[in-house]
Amino acid sequence: MKTKHIVLQGVGAVLLAACASAPEPVVTEATIQRVVQSSFSQIEYQYPPEVVARTNQDEGQKMCTAVRNEVAKIPPAQLDAFVGKSMKEIKYPAGGELMGDWKQGENIAQSGYGMRFGEGADDPKRPNGGNCYACHQVAPQEIAFGTIGPSLLGYGKHRGASAAMQKFVYDKVYNAWVTFPCSNMPRFGHHGFLTTEQITHVVALLLDPASPVNK
């Protein structure tokens, strides 16, 4: 994180030196909205309103962008309010069973399908995927895993599969920012990207002693 900022400041300093005479341009949300208007102008593509709205930021996205994900810079009261509200918004499956089927969880972890629009649009009738392997090592058999998130190999082995643990994992997948605000992980339940039932399958993939993750 530190190095990143130093490098960026370096680039900025060079720029400032090169154009010391002109004032630094200020980019506001209004500027971005103007760019959005001209760049998603519906000349080339027509979008449903829901899709156009995706260029806007929700409360959490705004909060995290403002500090470039450095949570320590968020005023504690704002952070607490955000996490509390996010917790309250979490929906659970009817019946309350949080541990689903790890095999279906594996399919969800492999698939990155869903909600892509326009050229090569995804079929909304097909289930979305969580694309867990894009960022995490999960089951040991899959060697094509990403490293943006931590390895989840053996995740449930030492943690067990208690009711509290199941809820923790469920909440984390539903809204990753209740446990780690502004982390890179998408808030799958919050955005309606995964269904509550799908999330229980992911819980099982991570916690079920029969899952290859815990073998």
């Binding site: 971005i32 998603f40 996205q61 990155g112 894009a134 094509a144 490293t147 943006i148």
Partner: protein, 265 residues
């Protein structure tokens, strides 16, 4: 299509696992072996032919197109792009400028010019071939984007802002994947835009032949595709959004020696 590849059946076929270190070495070997033979060079040949060909409703070639160094001057022009163009009163990258010339010089209709902006297995893209040819005329030259005009400075700032802006259904910003060191998505290494060596290596090699697409892609496609994966609406070709990001990334890579077409997975 991609989703089909991702079926659960695949990992079952992959057992037993290969140790992580050798995985990375073997992936590196794969990249090295494919990079030796780059079909993208054929796009350069096709692009030259198209560039010289009389086309559009005005039946003229692109030879008088001004990419910033004067009409018809291609050598070194790509290295200086994106830049401000007074005749359009906006900042344009190479692809936006190419589109502009196709419309103003050759008389192409906007939609018609963009009909094959991205090639696929069923049809080739004129724009991809033309872009490869134009960019290749700056080979061996350093990227040199100057930010002299106020709109160039603003484009850079807008690009930087978008780069860090978290949006859409995945909560992603460009920075979610491209601002940390040593990360990969699946087996794909992710470049770190805040690391000079890495941004240099990446930006000096676009346009690039993409093995998984069987065609040369330009930065316009790269930005389009990232947005698509972020579940954003499809960003328009040569739009201010893309040009701003392109400006931010190019300035970050100033000094890097251009070698195109590059070769990517």
């Amino acid at each position: 299509m991609r989703a089909v590849v991702c079926s659960a059946a695949l990992w079952l076929a992959l057992a037993p696992p290969v140790a992580a270190q050798s995985t990375e070495a073997e992936v590196e070997k794969y990249r090295k072996m494919i990079a030796e033979d780059n079909p993208g060079e054929l796009w350069e040949i096709k692009g030259e032919k198209l560039f010289m060909q009389k086309r559009g409703s005005k039946n003229v070639s692109l030879e008088q197109c001004d990419f910033g160094m004067g009409p018809g001057v291609l050598k070194g022009a790509y290295a200086r792009l994106p830049r401000y163009f007074a005749d359009a009163d906006r900042v344009m990258d190479m692809e936006a400028r190419l589109l502009h010339c196709m419309k103003t010089l050759q008389g192409f209709d906007h939609k018609a010019a963009l009909k094959t902006k991205f090639g696929n297995l069923n049809r080739e893209s004129d724009l991809e071939a033309l872009a490869t040819y134009i960019a290749a005329q700056s080979n061996q030259m350093p990227i040199d984007v100057r930010l002299e005009h106020a709109k160039e400075k603003e484009a850079y700032k807008i690009g930087e802002t978008i780069f860090y802006r978290r949006m859409s259904k995945m909560d992603f910003a460009c920075a979610s994947c491209h601002a940390d060191q040593g990360k990969r998505i699946r087996l794909q290494d992710l470049y770190n835009a805040t690391n000079k060596t890495e941004i240099d290596r990446v930006m000096s090699g676009w346009p690039a032949y993409r093995v998984s697409n069987s065609t040369v892609r330009t930065m316009q496609h790269r930005l389009f595709d990232c947005g698509w994966q972020m579940r954003l609406p499809n960003v328009e070709y040569g739009s201010d959004w893309t040009v701003a990001l392109h400006t931010f990334l190019s300035v970050s890579a100033n000094g890097a020696k251009i070698g195109v077409p590059g070769m990517r997975r």
